[in-house]
């Protein structure tokens, strides 16, 4: 996929939607890479004991997938200058080989000066919005 140029996008341009699988293995790997070993991300017994339906993904892993969604479109992981999300619902990750599905979509909401655009992002898992007020400011060539 070639990265879009600033001139060829407009307000309303949609980013190609993507679907990502998140398994327990991914949570273990993200815990190690990020240093976030909060037990609710790997221990079903403890997750349920504190009122969660099951083990949940790190919010930051969901945010990272949304970031990857944008940077793969832009063609440069360094292109994101602003990035903000609200974690509205957890991504519940069952203990099976398929895991959870996170579906991410995005639209260019506004063209900004200096070759930047603001992208509004949505992320859903099992029908629930897992990110709200999610947006990134991305610099395009």
């Amino acid at each position: 996929m070639t990265s879009p140029s600033y001139d060829e996008v407009a307000a309303g341009t949609e980013l190609p939607p993507r679907s990502y699988q998140v398994t327990r293995r991914d949570l273990v790997r993200y815990a190690g890479a990020s240093g976030d070993f909060n037990v609710i991300h790997w221990n079903e017994r403890v997750a349920k004991s504190v009122g969660l339906p099951n083990v949940i993904a790190h919010g930051m892993l969901t945010m990272a997938l949304a970031g990857r969604f944008v940077t793969e479109w832009a063609g440069d992981p360094g292109a994101v200058t602003e990035f903000a999300v609200r974690f509205s619902s957890p991504v519940v990750v069952p203990d099976d080989d398929k895991g959870a599905t996170v579906e991410i979509a995005g639209t260019v909401a506004e063209k900004l000066p200096l070759n930047e655009v603001r992208v509004e992002i949505t992320a859903r898992s099992e029908g629930a919005k897992v990110l709200t007020r999610a947006h990134a400011v991305v610099r395009l060539p």
């Binding site: 790997r29 993200y30 190690g32 009122g51 997938l65 903000a84 999300v85 974690f87």
Partner: protein
């Protein structure tokens, strides 16, 4: 024990320097499935105009969390870690982090807001190089659910 509201506005001491490594960036990129060669291949990163391999935007959480950990785990702040969920997160980057950066963080508790049996704790962490160049501001809101 509830979160100590008197901590609102408090700024903590800067962290020890953190050195960003190529290996850690590659490990993080693998963990989030980021496929870009700019996170792994120095020559590719340099061809794109960067000094070395660059980190994905949310890599800053690795550094800001390490810096904020001493805040969150301060026993006098009174956070019940098992009841914490991540409420909101934002990053504002002056530039991407890259391998070879040596950075320090400084965290300020921006606000502590009780809301409907929960408490929202917002921390702002500035990431700067040891030379003082601003790289990223991370704003993190944790929600302590009611016990």
């Amino acid at each position: 024990m509830a979160i100590n509201l008197e901590y609102a506005g408090r700024t903590f001491e800067p962290s020890e320097p953190y050195e960003v490594s190529r290996v850690k960036i590659a490990e993080f990129a693998e963990a989030i499935g980021e496929p870009s060669p700019l996170c792994r291949d120095r020559a590719a990163a340099q061809a794109a105009g960067y000094p070395d391999v660059i980190a994905p935007p949310t890599f800053a959480i690795v550094i800001s969390s390490a810096g904020a950990a001493s805040v969150i785990h301060d026993p006098d702040l009174g956070v019940n870690y098992a009841m914490i969920v991540h409420g909101e997160q934002s990053f504002s980057h002056t530039r991407p982090l890259h391998a070879g950066d040596v950075v320090v963080t400084q965290s300020t508790i921006e606000s502590i807001r009780p809301a409907g049996g929960m408490t929202m704790l917002t921390t702002v962490t500035e990431i700067r190089t040891v030379a003082g160049e601003h790289v990223c501001t991370a704003r993190n809101t944790l929600v302590e659910r009611g016990a």
